[in-house]
Point group: C2
Chain length 263, copies 2
């Protein structure tokens, strides 16, 4: 199956139907104006610790919605969470055991799924402000990195902050901060500007998730908190089971971006 | 014990010491610049439902901090949560069974305590903007009302939205909205302006919690979501045990108001 020529023009239902049919692509640039979300599902017995982890780390883990145990849709997501994302990673005791296009065989009756805000949501606003979004220009997945900053623990859950990176021309860094700060529920303003080594990132060309992108000589790498952080916590904290989206392959929700825009 | 002449000038430690010694007063106007919080504690087995209830109802239930099970202090509250508020209500199976100045006899090893944002936090900002705060002028507790709006349920927890009311001169209603909207973590902008009957409030002179206040002829009653909402949910949902602050008698935290101010 090939990607549509203009994925930005699709609605959430149309995109989810393509993913359900097996299309596997990163979703940056898809469904302009619709909110994208990270997925992390854990058994009910681990859901309190994960929800508290999110409460204690709101910058990487802004919770948009939580399903009932075993729920396969959510108030913000009318599709089927087991099949309607373009990719999933399944973890057992913190180890990724499968990367799949259909998570149905791994779903459990007591799985509680969290939808967590995603920075793809504000990329339309960045582009409207004239700030380039390199991974969209290069048709790649966004680069993501584990950092040396530890999240606040909650019960069994702890781990490092994960960030996404976008190279921004020096003259437009302030615009990038100003625009994204208006979307606090989808990671908001950057957590760090320049100096990747201060985050413990040695090589921008070797991201931990996603693809590397070109950084031009007049550009500064700008880092935003990333909703892959709960998956890094799963890897560090080893709950029995967890199901996440494949990084960059998001849940496209039925909420408009403007819902998360503050004045 | 009598209240200090200028409670607004006290720091959180000083105020908590007075409350620990037995002073029982509403805290509106106390400790200018310091964030105040609602308290609700439930056994660990009910904590997930309550945390999810808060996530689903962020306007009345903005979570500022959550203790470890049995914890008697919090990262935002260096005092002793059992004694350092000016009053508590203890609920068993949803019934208020005690109103006490010291909750120690009721505390349990597995009690998880939630600190929830309180609109007293933005009253300094209102007064600085020239908006009168009648219950402070009249040295009364703020009036609070159960409404006919139901919160989104979470597991065992559901119940009505509770609101606080401040009468605002018609010419200053816009200022009151603008100023408080900048504090989304402590209830933010009003949920309703004027027309109390639309909220199911028949008689402003008979609040469900707190004291009635004077409403002048040029004033509009303005309603903000209230952190007593979780206590109304406890009354409706009847968990085995819950410990809340006495309405208007808040936890004074070690966080500055400005921490919750957005640009």
């Amino acid at each position: 199956m090939t990607a549509p020529i203009d994925p930005g023009a699709l609605g959430p239902d149309q995109a989810r139907a393509l993913f359900r049919a097996g299309l596997r692509v990163p979703t940056s640039g898809w469904c302009a104006g619709w909110t994208q979300a990270n997925l992390i599902g854990v058994p009910r017995e681990d859901a309190y610790d994960l929800l508290l982890f999110a409460q204690r780390n709101p910058k990487p883990c802004p919770v948009l919605d939580v399903t009932e145990p075993g729920g396969t849709s959510a108030s913000l997501f009318a599709g089927d969470l087991r099949t309607d994302l373009p990719g999933y990673v399944v973890y057992e005791h913190g180890e990724p055991v499968a990367e799949v296009a259909d998570a149905t065989p791994y779903w459990r009756e007591d799985l509680v799924s969290f939808l967590i805000g995603c920075s793809f949501t504000f990329e339309d606003a960045l582009r409207e402000a004239g700030v380039p979004v390199r991974h969209i220009e290069q048709n790649r997945n966004v680069p993501m990195y584990r950092t040396n900053r530890m999240c606040r623990r909650a019960g069994g859950f702890g781990g490092p902050l994960v960030v996404s990176m976008r190279p921004v021309p020096a003259a437009q860094v302030a615009d990038a901060v100003r625009v994204t700060a208006r979307y606090p529920s989808v990671h908001g303003a950057p957590v760090h500007v320049g100096a990747p080594v201060e985050l413990g990132i040695d090589d921008l060309a070797a991201p931990d998730f996603g693809d590397p992108v070109e950084i031009r000589v007049d550009e500064i790498p700008v880092f935003w908190a990333c909703g892959v952080t709960p998956q890094a916590a799963v890897m560090a904290s080893r709950p029995k089971l967890a199901i996440g989206h494949a990084p960059g392959h998001m849940a496209i929700t039925d909420a408009r971006d403007t819902r998360y825009l503050v004045p």
